[in-house]
């Protein structure tokens, strides 16, 4: 998993290369897969396969079949299977960066506050549900240095710093703790969601509730301890 340096906001890698659509349009839909570059179709298919079957569990032929291209095209565009993974992850990083940047651009002030950022990221994830599935798998892989989570953390650091500078985030708390809070709360719910469904599915259909309860993930300071009890 080689890390590409350069600016994170760099070109979104072929998405909408033929049609001159803006990056905002690419985040939505994804319905018409026809007029996309072969490179983009391969990347989309790879995201789909990796998200649902895992990296090791997806043969290259499954990607090329879904993308509708020949097997040799992957190594031509991405060098190797690992290269395809890098491209997928770089694209995801771009999505997050674009969502955060969009939040700033829509804000009346130059820097959006936490609520606007959360909303922008949530909107982006809603448009790309496969990204959620991919992140879910990525979270539990061994913390490969320079992996996707690391890069998204760096993005969140920038975001928190910008909010601090704009007075939207308190500066008395630990910077690390702020970033941890944002990331864990955002990703934690997404990662844990399938657990909720799996447990509920273990009940007979009759007893199963119509609407599942909501998950909340909190981060508490180490010293703040309190015993708790339930059920």
């Amino acid at each position: 998993m080689v890390v590409m340096e350069e600016s994170v906001m760099a070109q979104l890698d072929g998405v909408g290369a033929m049609t001159e659509s803006s990056s905002a349009e690419d985040l939505e839909a994804a319905g018409e897969t026809a007029d996309l570059t072969s490179r983009a179709r391969i990347r989309n298919a790879a995201l789909h396969q990796f998200a649902t079957r895992g990296f090791a569990g997806t043969p290259l032929r499954a990607i090329t079949a879904e993308a509708g291209v020949a097997i040799g095209l992957i190594s031509h565009h991405f060098g190797s299977k690992e290269g395809a993974r890098d491209a997928v992850e770089q694209w995801i990083v771009g999505l997050f960066a674009a969502a955060l940047g969009l939040a700033d651009r829509e804000s009346e002030e130059s820097v959006a506050d936490a609520g606007a950022r959360d909303a922008a990221v949530a909107r982006m994830l809603g448009d790309n549900p496969l990204v959620i599935d991919y992140l879910r798998r990525e979270v539990l892989e061994q913390p490969e240095d320079g992996g996707l989570i690391t890069r998204l953390s760096a993005l969140t650091v920038e975001s928190v710093d910008a909010m601090r500078a704009a007075g939207h985030a308190s500066t008395d708390r630990d910077r690390v703790e702020q970033v941890l809070t944002v990331m864990v709360r955002q990703l934690g719910r997404l990662v844990l969601q399938p657990l909720l469904h799996q447990v509920a599915a273990a009940f007979p259909a009759g007893e199963r509730p119509t609407s599942l309860p909501e998950l909340t993930v909190e981060v508490r300071r180490p010293e703040a301890r309190r015993d708790e009890r339930d059920s």
Copy 2:
């Protein structure tokens, strides 16, 4: 992933078959791998490999190499790779069942309360950290019917029912919600833990805090809604 019926507490599958050690001893240490059955060594190695590299990502030869046996032994003992996975998961179910049963046996009353059960499970998981890693991966796999999560859910249902009958759990709340709360709170923290470490690792060593904050996963009723704000 074929599900074995029978009693969950059934034989723990060869652990300590040669030495007459009690099952409690087997849960700890795992340091001396020498005097275990080949079958048990293969199962342990499979747990280790599946937990760290994933099911699809582990070749059978990686398991046999760690176990110190020949390649043919796996199919002889477990039939297939899938069979090895079944054995691993059945062993994990046995661990949970033993921990819960142990909690009841140690309790002054015939049925232990929630705190004692949580403690027993936590102790068991502390002795078998690989089980945590395995569960973490299992959570996000597609909810194959009869999978590990389903079986652990069934175990939790029994546990909650026993506590209800003993008056240790309220009977006015939804039974499904009680089970969901127990499982999500217990497993949620374990699943999310590496995310915490990965995010913290994204910071320069100097800024990284010495002790990481604590995670809390809560389950809220669908109707109870409240807006929140942070950072």
